[in-house]
Symmetry: C2
């Protein structure tokens, strides 16, 4: 099988686009698509300081690699969540990546804030690790970006992540979540840095192939806390649909972004929950004390 | 395993409701649920003349059986689509059901209108049988109901049918279809009889069990034209989700009816396509000549 654009052999078939590509044309396809996403959805420009949340997985490392290659002004932050060996191995990949590419990556250990890792925090609070982890990561990313003068946070969410979230929100008609899901989450408050997902139109499979072809060494095992997650199940379901009708995932998501979203947005505009400063840390929240400070206080109390 | 409501053995487990029921309590559960659906969504009352579209399958025969038992004023219509042996066997089941229950069922043969069956019509027009079939059945049901003084058409659509349609419409964000999907489709024009789906909250499995326990003999084979239909594939997908999280189908549909629908409804209200009389038959349509008359004219032309 030949590449669509040259005489070389194709290394990948993208059924969603009806394209067969050689390694070089696949790489430019992905990089062009990311550049187009950035422009079309006005994610950021080359003057802005971009902070990338880096986990050590393929998507976040690809994000850093591609944005850097496209000459955006990027730095990364690796948040060490203290999930035993898994966190150690992830950090190793990140440090190695930073050294190879010259991209500056900050290391932030949540033990500085909590004196323990996420698994223990979740156990103490009798909460699911993924929900506590989400709160803490979002908070640290935002605070770090704000305090270090970054105007935007970029994350590695890929198309499959986005579609699984959308699917879940639609199944339960979560209008609030549906109104807020987007490729760009604009700055709603001086202390709330805008968020962008430059890989939102790149599928999991495309992202894995890109990392492979670029020789990006990422952590392949999944977080031990994510075992049995509903999002994984939805991805499996959505892949069956994609298998039968290629490009369904992309169309479902893009039509949502283009048309579907606005239905929910209109309805929730007035009722949008008002942000005010957290009484403890001063960062914007819809509560009196933000979730992060609530978790921190609770943990301090339990530890005596 | 015991019935939730008596000492008899349970014959069925309804995981969506966390209920195990004996045959008698299952039967009353289904009949009560249909009665509640009729009242809650104001489908019709006992003074109205109800026409039931009968295919010979479990859902339409159950609809006739249950509404008759609940003392609604019902008659049925079987539309003979001329799909070879399949139509013959279906008609046999319907006539047998009518004789056993005393429910009057009209027989309408589309050969009277077209001189041929649906498979041949579709072949001549190079269209998919299911789409032509839908147009013709809807038209005949409405015209027959209107001309014979029925104020409502009831169909056997079950929860799985409704959820598969909803799922398909959401995947492509078909706002117009989403705005119009409901348990009751009100009368929009003097010559457009309202439509109701009394079984919309009864799952395929519940419907099959009801027919079995009531000894209703229905046609079990599926229409030969429906082979490989996307709706079947979506039902399979949705059953996997239901298996993992019982009651997801019901909640997805009910939350759509209660909350989800209105988002799309608001948006399309102004733009709702205006109905006007078909220039050929006088029944309401959004076109100059309705789809039914267009098909009929086309067939007449081809036959010379």
């Amino acid at each position: 099988m030949k590449c669509k654009f040259c005489d070389n052999n194709a290394v990948i078939e993208l059924r969603a686009y009806n394209l067969k590509l050689c390694d070089e044309h696949f790489i430019s396809f992905i990089e062009n698509r990311v550049e187009k996403t950035i422009r079309k959805y006005k994610l950021f420009n080359r003057e802005e300081k971009i902070l990338i949340g880096i986990s050590g997985g393929k998507d976040s490392l690809n994000t850093a690699y591609i944005l850097n290659k496209l000459q955006y002004n990027v730095e990364g932050i690796y948040i060490d969540l203290g999930i035993g060996e898994y966190s150690e191995r992830s950090k190793g990949k990140v440090l190695n990546f930073s050294e190879k590419t010259g991209i500056k990556i900050h290391i932030y250990n949540i033990k500085e804030d909590f004196g323990m890792g996420i698994t223990e925090i979740a156990r103490i609070l009798h909460r699911k690790p993924c929900s506590v982890c989400g709160v803490i990561k979002r908070y640290i990313l935002n605070r770090f970006a704000y305090e270090h003068g970054f105007s935007v946070i970029a994350t590695g969410h890929n198309l499959d992540d986005e579609v699984a979230t959308l699917f879940s929100n639609v199944l339960s008609w979560q209008e609030g979540y549906l109104a807020r899901q987007n490729i760009l989450l604009p700055q709603r408050d001086e202390k709330l840095v805008k968020k962008a997902k430059p890989l939102a139109l790149i599928s999991e499979r495309e992202s894995a192939a890109y990392a492979l072809l670029r020789g990006i060494d990422y952590i392949k095992e999944e977080c031990p806390n994510a075992h049995g997650a509903t999002s994984k199940f939805y991805k499996h379901i959505l892949n069956q649909i994609e298998e039968r009708a290629p490009s369904t995932k992309l169309r479902f998501y893009l039509e949502f972004i283009r048309r579907g979203r606005r239905f929910f947005e209109q309805d929730t505009k007035e009722g949008e929950t008002q942000l005010k400063p957290c009484e403890v840390c001063g960062f914007p929240t819809t509560r009196k004390v933000c979730q992060y400070c609530t978790i921190k206080k609770e943990i301090q109390k339990r530890r005596g």
